[in-house]
Symmetry: C2
Subunit: 144 residues, 2 copies
């Protein structure tokens, strides 16, 4: 039950974008550098976010990417769904038909609860929340 690096890096990249997009499009190159992710790999992380419409992009000089919505409108459950797929720990939680006995399978109930628990945690947090925490943290460090 580990998250892929795609999800972890992708989430970090999105947070980086949220923090740095004030002055217009942010270039992948810069995100890659700040977050220590290879540029070619980062491209793959961003693609699903663009396709889903939560990030927008422009090519060419002065190109880059930016958030299509405000940070408080982007919940982590959407992000993780795009990067990692469903939080269902077993396939049959989402598609009962693939397990013949899913109607009477008691372990499936538990797997379903696990999915819901994860969804709840992730749906309760937005990109804005992460930005706020980040700022609070750096201020605390600066203050000390």
């Amino acid at each position: 039950m580990k998250l892929s690096t795609k999800t972890r890096y992708g989430t970090r990249a999105l947070l980086d974008l949220a923090i740095n997009q004030e002055k217009g499009p942010v270039q992948l190159k810069d995100i890659a550098q700040r977050q220590s992710i290879s540029l070619t790999y980062l491209e793959h992380l961003v693609t699903p976010l663009i396709n889903a419409g939560i990030v927008r992009s422009a090519r060419g000089r002065k190109g880059g990417i930016w958030l299509a919505k405000s940070p408080q409108e982007i919940r982590l459950d959407e992000v993780i769904l795009l990067l990692e797929g469903s939080n269902a720990p077993v396939e049959c939680v989402d598609r009962p038909d693939i397990c013949p006995r899913s109607g009477s399978c008691v372990t499936r109930d538990i797997w379903t609860e696990m999915k819901k628990a994860l969804d709840d945690v992730l749906a309760a947090t937005t990109l804005q929340d992460l930005m706020d925490r980040q700022n609070a943290g750096t201020q605390a460090v600066a203050r000390s």
Copy 2:
């Protein structure tokens, strides 16, 4: 974020054991047959449970395995920990030292919440609960 078959089969095997242990040791062969798991694979699933002391075993004729504790004393978080490992979706949740910036990493807070949410769900359910649900289900079917 998928559970391995080891965890899924292992949990089913344990539930099968809990249900069938009334008349003494249950043989792996029988669990394998009832649960449609190959005997040789099942052996690997059971080993960590035996080593951890929640299942006991005896070899030879009339041998088999049985629960070392009563079903209501066996929580699913223990079981999943043994079969799948920690619910931490990222290694650094359990071992902050492996990520240099773990002290100020805001995504890590989220991964930590995910782990806690999973632990809470699993700790709230015992093998006895699964047995009860199973019985309720089959009765409901029989009644209908």
